[in-house]
């Protein structure tokens, strides 16, 4: 089975890996394989991992690689159909009713409909990527609703009837795994757990993402972050924080700060819990190296 005509030029996991690296996203072979399989099988891709390991970035890089529109739905507790699907434009409906007087008016005409991310994804006429971010923050009811949406790519608006996607978008769901997602959702997706990258891969990520960071600095930061991740912290630093720390320390160095001091003074970029800071304070010198 080959990836359909929709994703030309991405005929293997290696192609996906190369394409992503052009979008400055350095993907592991496993992640590239998962993306390739999601495309080949026409299934949503579920990316799980600790905060800051690059789940959302993967979706952004992929949309840039595929040169398609990225539609993002940020989930939160209490998210409902109004926010995710559609909403009626009430002020316009009221004004139209007043202007119409006795004339016949359909207040449920599409001109009064405000499409939210999921409906926007259904309306796409060309390639599109739907990112459903942090699905674990949404409640179970929304997850169940999403299950239905993702299986048929159609919705029913009571006043207008059924709307079906003319072209199925590529869907990426991300989760920080603050709670377990329902099995029914997991088994419908191609799954990949994004772990912290290997030190050499993380150095490459820092060098490609941060500006003007020397390789030696990147290596020192990655080694220090590795030591931090081995500590029992409330919040272990993610890849995004590694990049920010390298960037911040380099900026301080440019202002004339000496090296270990530049790392130490910019530690707030990477450790954001007072408990973690006070716990590590006595051994900070040893950790920073």
């Amino acid at each position: 089975m080959k990836v359909g005509a929709r994703y030309k030029g991405l005929g293997s996991p290696q192609d996906v890996q190369e394409a992503l690296s052009q979008a400055l996203y350095i993907a592991s072979e496993d992640l590239a394989t998962a993306i390739y399989l999601a495309m080949a099988l026409g299934k949503p891709l579920l990316l799980e991992g600790a905060p800051g390991v690059g789940k959302t970035e993967a979706a952004k890089a992929l949309s840039s690689t595929l040169s398609c529109e990225l539609i993002r739905l940020q989930c939160y507790e209490g998210i409902d159909a109004n926010t995710a699907l559609y909403e009626w434009n009430f002020p316009r409906q009221i004004l139209a009713m007043r202007q119409a007087n006795d004339a016949k008016l359909n207040i449920y005409d599409p001109e009064f409909l405000i499409a939210r991310p999921l409906l926007q994804a259904l309306h796409l006429q060309s390639e599109g990527l739907l990112l459903i971010d942090e699905i674990d923050r949404a409640d179970h009811e929304f997850e169940a609703f999403l299950l239905e949406f993702l299986s048929d790519f159609q919705i029913t608006i009571p006043e207008r009837g059924r709307i079906r996607a003319s072209q199925r978008p590529f869907v990426i769901l991300t989760s920080n795994r603050t709670r377990d997602l329902h099995e029914a959702l997991r088994r419908r997706c191609v799954y990949h757990w994004i772990d912290y990258p290997s030190p050499s891969l993380e150095v490459d990520i820092v060098l490609s993402r941060a500006s003007n960071v020397a390789r030696a600095t990147a290596e020192a930061i990655v080694a220090a972050v590795g030591r931090l991740r081995a500590e029992p912290l409330a919040k272990a630093p993610g890849v995004a924080e590694t990049v920010e720390w390298a960037d911040a320390a380099t900026r301080l160095k440019d202002l004339g700060e000496t090296w270990p001091e530049a790392f130490r003074r910019s530690i707030g970029v990477v450790l954001k819990e007072q408990d973690d800071l006070s716990f590590l304070e006595p051994r900070m010198r040893e950790i920073i190296g």
Binding site: M1, E77, Q93
Partner: protein, 366 residues
Amino acid sequence: MKSDLASKFLIGFAHVLRQQGFLASADQSISFLSATQALGPKSLADIRRAAQAIFAPPPEHRDIFNELFDQYFLGQMSVEKVETETNEEATTEATDTLPGQSEDFSDPGVRASTDEASSKRVFVPIDDTAALKKFRRLALKRLPERLTRRTRSSRRGRGLDRVRTVKAATKTGGELLRLLHRKRQLKLRPILLLIDVSGSMKSHTEIALRFAHVLLTLPTRVEVFSLGTELTHITPALKLRAQVQAFTKISELVNDFDGGTNLGETLGTFLRNPRYLGFARGALIISISDGLEVGKSDGLWEAARKLYSLAFAHIWLTPLAKTKDFSPQTEALMRIEPFIDEFGSALSISHICAHLLGAPVPKEVA
């Protein structure tokens, strides 16, 4: 013919996974075949990647998953064996879960210490008592609630129900004569139940587990851990509706029944896991323990302080509370007293339920 054999062999792996408690449905098996085909496959690594992408093993069990993969694909397990095992599995797989809940037993928690001797327990489940039935009935009204961000139609409320208001305005030519409202819904707070299964709690462990089994039926997030010398996440087992099955599963999962007590260390293990930490955030924490900590209580003090800062409230129920005006006497409980919102009795299920519902305490204690 050759391809049929290969497909059969690949699908056999799904059977193996299912036997080991991993998620492996029929449509996943089919997707696994398609995924393997899509990748070539050029090597065993391709098949492994396809398996990981389709069967979605949780990260903490990826090692077990890979071990099973190696055992199966490197020739240590034959298709015939799998087929025989699958037939046996069909007769034993009659588990009864609550609708929409997980059957994942592959997350038994983290071992805090291996120093202490471990042991298993066999339970003889008893029918629900009247107290549990009453608890189930009243919990929705009496346990602490919080406002959710979901709203519902209401006569009064701060938000406007725009859909209904506009619908009403269609009858009055667009004039908004009647404003209809929505208000935020109330929901039970999440509950975290910590059960001490050490030797000193031997006669009360079953009571606590029976209570936990009922707690899991409440419409909120409930997470249950057993504490002794190890930390064990027993929520998936308790989700089995039949008490016999749930308790059998728990006796398989928990290795430290009736052992020593190392609450500080086990709670420390709990707090070091960011995922478990999330269970405590904003939750009602109920600890059922006598607090008879072995050695120094510094670890317990630190853990209680941290839980106090995270939780909505922390209630400590102990079988040592034999009077209504109980105040802690053990060194560990006295130290953590500032971080406990309420102490109560865990002498029996009636006592536990009565305390949580705020009902009058049963006569034998009052």
